[in-house]
């Protein structure tokens, strides 16, 4: 149905009837020509395809500030195609693809390649993250300006997976990105304090005999970086905050007016290091699962705005990297297809947040951090139609073998989760309908469409 309109340059018209807008009263949304053409009660159907949405919540398409798509280089773990299919199914209309590919996304050429792969796939807007340093080696700044000026218009820079631990280099990166309104997204991990680290350092690591990853290794870097950001007047984003102490430091920094944003992953909002007692590497992740005290502090911080966004840190790995000894296993968990459900479970069903808050932390704010002008917008007339429909009453059991991502490393396998994405509209085109993949959006040739344009011609 949708595909027949692809050639005309139109994505068709859809009337979403009776959806609860951001969890508020039910209204209709008319989607036509890539925008929300109308919002209100009892809208005229006209030639639009009607989607009955009673009981569903309409939200702005989710924006992931932290995704690993693995391509180029590790196509055995994930490709841009499979990762963005997972993203669309998970309710995302944009993802930031982290720079730790092979080759590293540290040049204009690589970020443009990733941009093109994302456009070709067409499931979501793939926004490449540029590496801060050449080869993620932490020695020399990558050509940040060239990546910013490239077709990919990179605004988020990160050596994620590795900390920019050199304080001088970090200072320079923070200063330099001011030239093009960039942000440095820091993976806060003091390397010397975490040499050989396998799990959170505490009561459980003591018993299991696994080398500890102490909270102080994260907190000391965050403390340093917020002071550096203040000193040079730049913008800092802290990836995957995982400890109660980090929350306190970010809260303090914000109270001082420091321009810092912080992110939490869905798994850190729920899971604790008690799971490591199984020695099952599906629970091995970096930063590691912490204690329940940390989990509660992270939830409170996300609810009160100290932590700004949810980022998945979706990190697919081939099964052989998890079917082994704990110490040999790769760190990371998949997350794109479970994020909405986990946040609903941990934040909404606990009464800590509303769906409007959900939209803020999964869409509006991450889009603002990444400077994605056509994402994270209000669901209002004239706005770009990046919209998802969610059935909050649905319950489903996580089965990694049925996921669109190639990664089978979901820590939520076997758990029953609430909430299901019923439809995803990306630029007005339904990439997901009835909870299943529909068809990708077809971008116009490069010259006709640059990122950040709100509406296609």
């Amino acid at each position: 149905m949708a595909s027949q309109q692809q050639d005309t340059g139109s994505t068709g018209a859809y009337l979403i009837r009776g959806a609860s807008i951001l969890g508020g009263p039910a209204e209709d949304l008319l989607i036509r020509d890539g925008v929300i053409a109308a919002r209100g009660q009892d809208l005229d159907t006209g030639d639009a395809t009607v989607i009955e949405a009673a009981g569903l919540v309409a939200l702005p398409g989710m924006v992931d500030i932290h995704t690993h798509l693995r391509e180029p280089g590790r196509e055995d773990a994930e490709t841009v195609e499979t990762g963005t299919r997972a993203a669309a199914l998970g309710g995302y209309t944009a993802v930031h693809a982290m720079a730790n590919s092979t080759p590293v996304a540290d040049t204009a050429g690589v970020v443009e390649q990733v941009l093109t792969l994302g456009r070709t796939a067409g499931w979501v807007d793939v926004r490449p993250v540029g590496a801060v340093t050449v080869g993620l080696a932490g020695e020399q700044l990558a050509e940040l300006g060239a990546m910013a000026d490239s077709r990919a218009r990179v605004r988020v820079f990160s050596d994620d997976g590795i900390c920019v631990s050199d304080p001088v280099l970090m200072r320079r990166a923070l200063e330099y990105v001011k030239a093009f309104d960039g942000v440095v997204a820091q993976h806060a991990q003091e390397p010397r304090l975490t040499a050989g680290a396998q799990m959170n350092e505490g009561v459980v690591s003591a018993v299991l005999g696994l080398t500890g990853w102490p909270a102080v290794a994260e907190e000391s870097i965050i403390a340093r970086d917020v002071l550096l950001a203040q000193h040079v007047g730049s913008r800092l984003h802290v990836c995957h905050v995982s400890t109660a102490g980090s929350v306190e430091i970010v809260r303090w920094a914000k109270s001082r007016g420091i321009n810092v944003t912080a992110e939490v992953t869905p798994h850190h909002l729920w899971l604790t290091d008690e799971l490591v007692r199984s020695y099952d590497p599906v629970y091995k992740v970096n930063p590691p699962l912490r204690t329940d005290e940390d989990v509660q502090a992270l939830r409170a911080a996300l609810a009160d705005g100290t932590i700004d966004v949810v980022g998945t840190d979706h990190a697919p790995h081939p099964s052989e990297h998890k079917e082994c000894e704990w110490a040999q296993a790769a760190m990371g968990m998949t997350g794109l297809e479970t994020a909405l459900s986990v946040v609903q479970h941990t934040m909404i069903e606990t009464g800590l947040m509303t769906w409007a808050d959900f939209a803020r932390v999964t869409s509006t704010t991450p889009a603002a951090i990444g400077r994605l002008e056509d994402q994270g917008r209000p669901l209002e007339t004239g706005e770009p139609a990046n919209v998802i429909l969610v059935d909050p009453a649905a319950r489903w059991t996580v089965d990694p073998s049925k996921m669109a991502t190639m990664g089978r490393n979901s820590p939520f396998a076997g758990r029953e989760l609430p909430g299901k994405v019923v439809a995803t509209f990306f630029k007005g085109h339904p990439t997901v309908l009835n909870g299943e993949l529909n068809t990708p959006y077809r971008w116009l040739p490069d010259s006709a469409e640059v990122p950040n344009t709100a509406v296609r011609p």
């Binding site: 396998q198 350092e201 005999g209 704990w326 110490a327």
Partner: protein, 335 residues
């Protein structure tokens, strides 16, 4: 009991059953023909990813005394060193019909992975995993202590536990699987444990363990100790700033000649000195202490074979039922 992976989850009843069975096995070791037909036709694989000649030959002797067929699979010089995964190795052993796998691995939790996955169905015995556990070492230590404790009490070992025995364990607790396994097993058996170490060599979280922690070996001795266990300390630890020099370590935390004499002056005439081996003479233990009549170092080695026979026998003989919890009722309360 399907596997022997840790002492943390070893019940009192099973611990006593292993110790009592080991007493019976020890009697075999004193006969002229040191062999039982119990495991004839069964295959025990010693799967060693880390060098440990003493542990491997102890298990090998134990299996052979029970008439099992023994295959030694050392990671070095085998396909393992060429990058074969633990999964493939385990499946290979399963295909060859291994009934028990005795695994020594540098990675904490590797035996748990073998036991928890469907890679292999054999009984798994942890022969030391990373810095996690070494349950048969703790059992042979407890066996050695129990014999001593029962002799002092003038009662038989069989059925007894270690209630009231004061055990000090000194050394590199942070990196020691022996210390961890001992803490859990000694708690289960009713002993009072004190860990003695420099603060740098104690894990964060040790305060939750069922024991006392001290930084002062002399003070610990002065409070009275029935068994003094010294742990091996790697001299290279000083390069990572765990302690300044081996000499300073030795002065503060080593069992030297002065401390050996102190046992006498403190009136601790029955205190035994234990070491799991191999010893660094002159670092954590002096030669005089290691060779003194108090030393149980060689008895521990001897008892290791009995304990490993008991473990193999109980896991492979088919009797995998939990013993009745009332076993505890006939533990000796006399001391």
């Amino acid at each position: 009991m399907k596997h022997l992976l840790s002492t943390e989850d070893l019940s009192y009843a099973n611990a006593i059953r292993i110790l009592d069975t080991a007493e019976e096995m020890a009697a075999v070791g004193e006969r002229e023909v040191k062999k039982l037909p119990a495991l004839r036709g069964r295959t025990v694989v010693n799967l060693f990813f880390e060098d440990s000649t003493r542990t491997r030959i102890s298990f090998e002797a134990a299996a052979k005394r029970l008439s099992a067929d023994v295959i030694n699979f050392a990671a070095k010089g085998s396909s393992v060193s060429k990058g074969e995964s633990l999964k493939d190795t385990a499946q290979t052993l399963a295909a060859m019909g291994a009934d028990a796998v005795v695994i020594r691995h540098w990675a904490s939790g590797a035996p748990h992975r073998l036991a928890a996955t469907d890679w292999i169905d054999a009984a798994v015995i942890n022969a030391g995993d990373g810095t996690h556990e070494h349950p048969t070492q703790a059992l042979l230590d407890a066996f050695t202590m129990r014999r001593h404790w029962s002799t002092l009490a003038g009662s038989p070992s069989a059925g007894a536990d270690l209630k009231g025995m004061r055990v000090a364990i000194a050394g590199d607790v942070l990196h020691s699987r022996v210390a961890r396994s001992n803490v859990w097993l000694l708690r289960t058996l009713g002993a009072e444990v004190t860990l003695v170490a420099p603060p740098t060599l104690l894990p964060i979280g040790v305060e939750e363990w069922p024991c006392t922690v001290s930084y002062d070996l002399d003070e610990t001795l002065a409070r009275g100790v029935d068994a003094m266990m010294m742990l091996r300390v790697q001299g290279e630890r000083m390069n990572a700033s765990f302690f300044p020099t081996t000499r300073e370590y030795s002065r503060r935390w080593g069992f030297d000649d002065n401390r050996l004499r102190a046992l006498d002056s403190l009136g601790l005439k029955d205190t035994i000195i234990m070491h799991p081996g191999p010893m660094n003479r002159g670092l954590e233990i002096s030669s005089a202490a290691a060779d003194s009549p108090r030393s149980t170092v060689l008895a521990q080695v001897r008892n290791g074979v009995s304990i490993r026979m008991a473990a193999l026998y109980l896991l492979l003989s088919g009797d995998t039922r939990e013993p009745a919890t009332s076993t505890a009722a006939y533990s000796k309360e006399s001391h």
